[in-house]
Symmetry: C2
Subunit: 245 residues, 2 copies
Amino acid sequence: MRNIKLVIQYDGSRYRGWQRLGDTDNTIQAKIENVLSRMTGEQVEIIGSGRTDAGVHALNQVANFKTNSTMSTSEIQDYCYRYLPDDIVIKSVEEVDDRFHARYNVKGKKYLYRILNSKYHDPFIRKYITHVPEKLDLEAMKTAANYFIGEHDFTSFTTAKSKKKSRVKKVFDVEIFKDGDIIEILFYGKGFLHNMVRIMVGTLLEVGYGKMKPEYIKELLEKKDRSLAGPTAPPQGLFLYEVEY
Amino acid sequence: MRNIKLVIQYDGSRYRGWQRLGDTDNTIQAKIENVLSRMTGEQVEIIGSGRTDAGVHALNQVANFKTNSTMSTSEIQDYCYRYLPDDIVIKSVEEVDDRFHARYNVKGKKYLYRILNSKYHDPFIRKYITHVPEKLDLEAMKTAANYFIGEHDFTSFTTAKSKKKSRVKKVFDVEIFKDGDIIEILFYGKGFLHNMVRIMVGTLLEVGYGKMKPEYIKELLEKKDRSLAGPTAPPQGLFLYEVEY
């Protein structure tokens, strides 16, 4: 069978997230699987690099699937473009080695979180950014962000219900950029726990508001208690930015 | 009575256009009038600089209204921000001379039309740009655009049902810019007839596809026949960009 790699861009606003959930087809995975299954006449199952939550977007989600179809990669791309809803676009289709696995082979992931720091919201980007009208201390946020870098137990920064045995993750880098009213926070790591990026952002915002000292992040990591960290930042500001293999 | 000038930004995607239509409140004018009426306890009527059609956006629509309310301009702005839907934002509120009239006093208007000229659409801007996958001859379009400049009878470039006595309008300038895959066409004139900008764009696209010679625009203006011009370009690429007084 051929192994096909997809790079996918989606506006997650109206979906329940990436992962297929039982009968509902209101997920990105289900939308793509349905189109590919119709295209090939096979029961196609795609493997994503990981889940994204309801309302979260992707600029470069990666997935792969196996097929006996003889269609060319550009025929597959054109078919998907024609039949997928207009908020999901396959950016590239490539035939890859049989051993390529979009989840197991991940070497690194980048997530981007976007904040509009202005008095009023902007109607044209409102679904792709989080509006924060309060004044933010950017320098304090940058100092705080540095405490996330390295290998840590991120129990304080994941959903309490997370069933993962190990909550130790390696964060390679966190960078904060500001351009006009827009603040972008780029998270780069080996992998992230459920809601981890959004809780890190919610906590950085507490630092930005002046409610939390930057140094408190260190203590938070040690205490392993979700209830001490900041709230989970809203999904519409979050983008899966890149997956590295 | 005080005379209040508003500068308004809106995403027109889910509205039937600017102008209040009988009972339906699914227009931008109705949404704003309802909020202002509730705020002042008066029956507020706002005068816009002109209509925008269903699905057309505005970066700086201007309107004015009369009121006896003693609220400060920033209180009015905050109230509107709180109670208007999130796709309509009042960018500024200013108390102006009693004689200011948002429609009669217009000296010039700028409209921007945005085109994404790429093989595939971009899900994140799909509601704010028109996707054109075909190759476009930009130089031919620029030559054609020059024929619109000046005072002409634009009968070929307005809806057949237009009841206006005079279809003579003065276009000050038409400029075409390209940045990556994005083409922007800026129309600047004293005023525009119904659908005039969108029909000019639809005609410029015919020139871009190579189906029409740039020089044919001159003939089109003389023939005064809507059926000879190009189709009306879709609304989502059009923005009311600026109103001059």
